[in-house]
């Protein structure tokens, strides 16, 4: 029997699609639409319940999490509560979720995400320019753009990159640094196209499109002036048996000098300390220079006509006008306006230069003598305060000179009057031209008083009663130097001399001669340095750096052989703020360029410094090197091709961020 032979009659009642119920032959049944509606409500209820339970049982830190944080941020925020964690970067994170949909009345005043970024990163990014592109002002950016265009003047770039619509004076951190992309994602990972979307000058591949380096990296200001050519070509071959000119002697790896690894993770030490790199050759000459010392006060010789009014002017400083007003004394005197005009008339501060035609009258010389006498009186009475006060009036800050005066004993100053300027009407006392070493020892200084200056009787320069050395005899004339000591001294000098004693004697002698000293014969208070980076001389140089270069006192000070020698290697020290040494590490350049030596040194041929940094031979140099024009004229220019040999897309990479950093300035 075929299927179509069995037919079923349609139901007698009428039903419509979408009805909730149907009734066929008295039987009522629920339709699909009704079932579906019920199922929908039931499913939505279950879904809501499951979601609610899910929200309840899931740790709050994992409910809303668009993606894992980068490792640095994740580590910092690991111990914080969810609210604080989100609120660290999102101001909305500190609010209740119920308030998210309600606009905040002070929304425009609430902190932006960038504000919250800078709240933590304020130490590394200059706040005033934080939102500006490259942290530079508009004018600075224009200058850089012009320089780039000039460097790329003859290049035609076929690269087309869509331009951004960013406001370059209000660039948010999140424009470049995208979070929630996982712990392994880099926050500074930008493509070359992303870097160049803001730039009017765009480049294609590095080898063919990037401009040449120009003077980089030798255009950077160097704090230490060092002539590589002369040292490599002249000094080293002939020095101590022809030792080779080894770059790493002065530029060692950080681990070789014990520098902290955290600060030099990817850099070389720019310059090794003086003791390591320079002292071997320059220590002796430096000590010879230090022996000259610098004078704080030095009484010039003035005509008797000028000093008659002063009853206490030393006789030894009376005669033909002679002697120099030292630069420091010049500053001390010129705080008095009358003397300032007078000092300007004295050429090179040398009274010996005074001739008849100089319009300096005896009256003015009397004023000079009185000024010097008043200065001495003031120093005797007020000590350091008088010096600092007068220097301050001449333009040098107290704090700059303070380190220089710390080792200057006040006793040394207090005795100026009694030793140099005694009233001639007083009964003549036994005067001795002496260098007062007693005053060198501070009260309670056991090292000097108990040991080194103890009367051992073996000091060549310490006079004794039995001494027959004519050079050490007390002499009222003051022509000879006598070293005085309050301690009794023995005189078994020659008998007990030995090598050890001689060495000890030398140290004592050095101690007596180094430091602040008063020379009653020359009527000076001077300082003799002890070593490289002597704190007193350093302080004076830093103090004078505050003066303009045209200041005659600064000019004279800079021309002093010792100071000139200092500034020949440290030219930056003469300008305020004084810069003495290179940064410990070469972690940053002054512009957007960055370069790390360490990964390059792993390449065998780059391990030789000369591969990239070729020192100019003496023959190539035309005359003397002009450091003022070029920071490092003693090197051959570095070419881009040297870098492009490795830095291609398939090789070491040619990403902009490999060699350039966005944040150009630092606070």
């Amino acid at each position: 029997m075929r299927d179509d032979q069995t037919s079923i009659k349609p139901p007698s009642s009428f039903d419509r699609p979408g009805d909730a119920w149907s009734e066929f032959d008295g039987t009522r049944q629920r339709n699909w639409s009704s079932v579906r509606r019920r199922l929908t409500f039931l499913a939505l209820a279950i879904a809501t319940l499951v979601t609610g339970v899910g929200f309840f049982v899931t740790p709050s830190s994992r409910i809303f999490k668009p993606g894992p944080l980068s490792k640095p941020h994740a580590q910092i925020l690991a111990g914080t509560l969810t609210k604080e964690r989100c609120g660290s970067c999102h101001s909305g994170g500190m609010q209740s979720p119920l308030k998210w949909l309600v606009p905040s009345p002070n929304h425009e005043h609430s902190m932006t995400q960038t504000d919250l970024c800078l709240d933590c990163h304020k130490r590394t990014i200059p706040m005033e320019n934080a939102r500006r592109a490259h942290n530079l002002s508009r004018s600075a950016r224009k200058q850089l753009t012009a320089a780039l265009k000039a460097a790329s003047a003859n290049r035609v770039s076929l690269v087309s990159i869509p331009k951004t619509r960013l406001d370059f004076d209000n660039v948010a951190c999140a424009v470049c640094h995208r979070e929630h992309h996982g712990s392994d994602a880099s926050l500074i990972d930008l493509s070359n196209s992303q870097c160049q979307t803001c730039h009017s000058q765009v480049y294609g591949d590095f080898a063919n499109s990037h401009p040449e380096w120009g003077n980089w990296p030798y255009d950077q200001t160097s704090e230490i002036r060092f002539d590589h050519s002369t040292h490599a070509g002249k000094h080293f071959p002939g020095w101590k048996g022809g030792q080779s000119f080894d770059c790493q002697s002065c530029h060692p790896m950080p681990n070789q000098v014990g520098t902290r690894a955290s600060s030099v993770e990817d850099a070389m030490v720019r310059v090794a300390p003086f003791e390591t790199a320079c002292a071997g050759c320059h220590d002796e000459s430096l000590r010879a220079q230090l022996n000259e010392g610098i004078s704080l006060i030095s009484l010039p010789t003035l005509p008797s006509e000028a000093t008659t009014a002063l009853r206490d002017w030393p006789e030894s400083a009376t005669g033909f006008a002679d002697g120099r007003v030292t630069p420091i004394m010049h500053l001390l005197l010129r705080s008095d306006s009358r003397l300032a005009s007078l000092l300007r008339k004295i050429r090179d501060d040398d009274l010996g230069n005074l001739v008849i035609k100089d319009q300096i009258s005896n009256q003015e010389l009397q004023a000079l003598a009185k000024g010097i006498s008043d200065l001495c009186s003031e120093i005797v009475n007020d000590g350091h305060a008088a010096i600092l006060n007068r220097m301050s009036q001449s333009g040098i800050q107290d704090k700059a000179l303070h380190p220089a005066l710390v080792p200057l004993p006040t006793q040394l100053l207090e005795t100026i009057k009694s030793r140099w300027m005694r009233d001639h009407s007083d009964p003549p006392a036994q005067r001795s031209a002496s260098v007062d070493s007693q005053d060198l020892s501070m009260p309670g200084d056991s090292l000097l008083s108990d040991d080194l200056l103890a009367p051992t009787g073996d000091d060549l320069l310490l006079p004794t009663d039995e001494s027959d050395d004519v050079l050490l005899l007390p002499d009222d004339s003051g022509d000879l130097i006598q070293l005085e000591s309050n301690e009794s001294q023995s005189n078994d000098l020659s008998r007990d001399a030995s090598n050890a004693t001689a060495s000890r004697d030398a140290e004592k002698q050095q101690l007596l001669l180094d430091g602040w000293r008063r020379d009653d014969g020359r009527l000076t208070i001077s300082y003799r340095g002890t070593q490289h980076a002597d704190p007193v001389i350093t302080a004076f140089i830093e103090g004078f750096s505050a003066l303009p270069d045209t200041d005659p006192a600064k000019r004279d000070f800079s021309e002093m052989p010792l100071i000139k020698n200092c500034l020949s290697c440290h030219p930056g020290a003469s300008h305020s703020p004084s810069r003495w040494a290179e940064p410990t590490v070469q972690s940053a350049s002054i512009d957007s360029n960055k370069f790390h030596h360490r990964p390059h040194l792993n390449v065998s041929k780059l391990g030789d410094c000369n591969h990239c940094h070729q020192v100019t031979t003496l023959n190539d140099l035309d005359g003397e090197i002009d450091f003022a024009m070029n920071s490092h004229p003693d090197f051959q220019p570095l070419t881009k091709s040297a870098c492009a040999a490795c830095h291609s897309k398939e090789g070491a990479g040619e990403n902009c961020t490999q060699c350039h950093r966005y944040h150009m300035t630092r606070p």
């Binding site: 299927d3 069995t6 139901p11 039903d15 809303f64 999490k65 668009p66 609010q95 869509p162």
Partner: protein, 276 residues
């Protein structure tokens, strides 16, 4: 001159071309915005969100069929291609296919489920009607239960009113042991999930086996019962496939609503937490 309607295949190719072009444009814009250091996620996210609304419009259209808004076939085609575009926009939008947090992973799972059910719907909406047409008969889903009862009553009636002869007890016994349970019960869940003719063939084979004991009249009754067995099985087949289609629509629409609700919350969170 009346405009010729565009052929279905041409329309389909045109729709695929437009969808592909839209995806390419979106991809280009996302790349461009990324290159321009802008937040391309806003573009891709907005596109996905708008698409979700467009996809829900087909349900609205189904409920307001009295308005001249185009036929359902056109709406279905638009729905499919907007869904494909939304999937592409979603892939552009998310950093990873499954989100990280509870809410984000719920959102992404919902989207993936709805997208996956949409693809499954495309498959069954193209294959099931053909399979139903091959079976024959037209049964409205809401009348299937009534029809099932009718078939059962017809079978009972056939056995009860059959002529009394020597073979009648054999047929009655077979009806009571095998055919009555088949006609009176609901189709099994296994059959609904995977409908097949195995049970039907076994019953018909057993019935055929009894033919040799029947006289002519009983054999006619047995033939009518076999016809009812086939009709009942065809009815169950219709029921299974129609139920599958309806369940799919139910799940697809239900999860679409959940997806839209979660998307609105997601947008609110984004707008609250995004800031420069």
């Amino acid at each position: 001159m009346a405009m010729q309607p565009i052929h279905l295949r041409t329309r389909r190719r045109l729709a695929i071309a437009v969808t592909t072009l839209a995806i390419l444009i979106l991809s280009y814009l996302v790349q461009r915005q990324t290159m321009q250091l802008e937040h391309a996620a806003f573009l891709s996210g907005s596109a996905t969100f708008v698409c979700l609304f467009l996809l829900l419009l087909i349900g609205v259209r189904r409920r307001i069929s009295f308005l001249p808004l185009g036929n359902m076939s056109m709406w279905t085609q638009i729905h499919i291609h907007v869904g494909i575009f939304a999937s592409a926009a979603y892939l552009h939008h998310v950093p990873r296919v499954i989100g990280n947090g509870f809410f984000e992973s719920l959102l992404s799972c919902l989207f993936l489920f709805v997208a996956g059910s949409g693809i499954y719907g495309m498959y069954i909406s193209r294959t099931l009607p053909r399979r139903l047409a091959n079976v024959g008969g037209e049964y409205r889903f809401d009348r299937i239960a009534w029809t099932r009862r009718q078939i059962a009553e017809m079978a009972t009636q056939l056995v009860q009113v059959g002529q009394s002869n020597a073979a009648t007890p054999v047929l009655t016994k077979f009806y009571e042991s095998t055919l009555a349970p088949f006609f009176q019960r609901q189709p099994r869940l296994a059959y609904i999930v995977v409908p097949n003719g195995q049970y039907r063939r076994r019953i018909l084979a057993d019935l055929k086996e009894l033919d040799r004991y029947f006289e002519q009249e009983t054999r006619q009754t047995a033939g009518k019962l076999a016809s009812l067995v086939r009709k009942r099985d065809d009815l169950d087949y219709h029921f299974a496939l129609q139920l599958r289609l309806r369940c799919w629509v139910l799940m697809h629409s239900l999860f679409s609503i959940l997806l839209l609700a979660c998307s609105i919350v997601h947008v609110a969170i984004v707008l609250r937490f995004f800031g420069n």
